[in-house]
């Protein structure tokens, strides 16, 4: 790699350095906007004992769900894990730990982690199981709980277009958690539908500045849809 050129040509290079027991932060909402090829590479690598931070855990046989097949995930930090039979089985068997985290708190934990803020107060979860054991404090007559931010050894991100410098833009609601995930990895890997030369994306349109990104790989995406709903 020369200068700011972050493009790698193989998935092995893209995920080089991922080891057992690391934390991986993954963008995506359900199956929308997930780095399909990077997830497949983690499966191929066989890395175990992972803590995966992502809003959901895919479905049986697709998305992050494939990492359950060989029991590669030790702990999942998610807001909703309801679409996955293998997940349920491993959870009930005690082979998998889950930390259910409110969706907005999860997004903010990633955002804060990437922004160097170790913790923040939020009203979300006060007085609920989520708030148990957490410090609480009153501001302006209302109770808030202290939530710690999240960073990980790796972040895996799906972009629509990335330039060689790692500047990224996202397409429609495939944006979701990807911009925050991108900021929160010590090594952030972007899998993009298209890689362009620096200067081709307007600086005004960049949603993730390249400073957050360490590696960029051109991906191929199946883009499976969880629920096809139509008007005709």
């Amino acid at each position: 790699m020369a200068g700011f050129d972050k493009v790698v040509s193989s998935y092995q290079e893209a995920m080089a350095g991922l080891e057992d027991n690391m934390t991986v932060i993954a963008g995506g909402f359900g199956l929308c906007g997930i780095p399909e090829g990077l997830i497949a590479e983690i499966k191929n690598k066989g890395t175990k004992g992972l803590t995966v931070v992502s809003n959901n855990c895919g479905i049986d046989g697709f998305g992050l769900g494939i990492l359950l097949e060989d029991k590669q995930i030790k702990k999942m930090v998610s807001s909703y894990v309801g679409e996955n039979a293998l997940f349920e089985k491993q959870l009930l068997n005690g082979e998998l730990e889950v930390e259910l985290t409110p969706q907005g708190t999860l997004a903010e934990k990633m955002r804060a982690g990437g922004a160097g803020i170790p913790a923040f107060y939020t009203a979300t979860g006060y007085g609920t199981p989520v708030g148990e054991g957490k410090e609480s404090r009153e501001f302006n007559g209302r109770q808030y709980i202290l939530e710690e931010s999240i960073t990980g050894e790796f972040a895996i991100v799906k972009a629509w277009k990335a330039d060689r410098y790692g500047n990224c833009i996202y397409r429609h609601t495939a944006q979701n958690f990807n911009p925050m995930a991108a900021t929160a990895g010590k090594i952030t890997v972007v899998e993009a539908e298209e890689i362009v030369e620096p200067g081709e994306l307007s600086p005004t349109d960049i949603q993730t500045p390249g400073i957050y990104v360490d590696r960029v790989i051109l991906g191929q995406f199946e883009k499976r849809i969880e629920k096809i709903t139509t008007s005709d």
Binding site: G33, L92, T105, A107, T128, R171
Partner: protein, 219 residues
């Protein structure tokens, strides 16, 4: 007659005001989008990062990158905006969404809500519900008044783990429209043909009934 799911949704939509930004939860709340009065405009917020959710796409226009918080394919309405999850919950937590509608297992007279977890059953997660109930001032809960065994879900105190505390202001069930004020449910409207006595018998929490209670009207 108790209300159908569609009628509950129709009654919910009567609570919308022109210019409201509205977040609709999965299930009955989502149906309310079909009954927005013709003379007002509301904009639907979907917490995965879409403000201005439109109808489902035609088969030809299905786009894997265009989904709602229920993971269904949708379209963007004219004037929509798309953004990250952090931005989405900034607008929710920051109190910028005018109305939130969601389902529940139980509500109680102090405005507490339990909607995501039944101990002993597998917990699938709260998704965005905890953020939504912590962020909105105007939260409408849609639910059945009682379970299939006839046991009230409108309680003195929730028995299930909470989604949020002291946050619910309005409850629309298959039997009644109630508001929560000063530690009691205040009966505002009855479903057509449902008596105050029936509502009272299926309400475990403190119920205030002031004068004659009108029946709901549907256009």
């Amino acid at each position: 007659m108790s209300l159908s799911r569609e009628q509950i949704a129709q009654r919910v939509a009567q609570e919308f005001n022109d210019g409201d930004y509205v977040n609709l939860g999965i299930g009955i709340p989502t149906l309310a989008a079909n009954y927005v009065p013709a003379d007002i405009e509301v904009m639907l917020q979907s917490e995965n990062g879409l403000l201005g959710m439109g109808p489902y796409p035609t088969k030809a226009n299905v786009d894997a990158d265009m989904i709602n918080a229920g993971k269904e394919t949708v379209t963007a309405a004219t004037g929509a905006a798309i953004f990250s999850s952090a931005e989405s919950f900034a607008m929710i937590r920051g109190g910028h969404v005018d109305v939130t509608v969601l389902g529940a297992f139980e509500v109680d007279q102090n405005g507490n809500i339990a909607s995501y977890m039944i101990p002993g059953k597998l917990v699938k997660g709260m998704g965005g519900a905890m953020d939504l109930v912590a962020g909105a001032d105007n939260i409408i809960v849609t639910m059945m008044h009682a379970n299939k065994h006839g046991e009230s879900k409108i309680l003195t105190e929730c028995t299930l783990p909470l989604t949020g505390v002291s946050c619910i202001t309005k409850v629309i069930t298959d039997l009644a429209y109630m508001e929560i004020e000063n530690g009691e449910f205040v009966l505002k409207e009855r479903a057509p043909g449902v008596s105050v006595e029936e509502i009272r018998s299926k309400t475990a929490g403190q119920l205030r009934v002031d004068g004659d209670i009108p029946e709901m009207t549907f256009v």
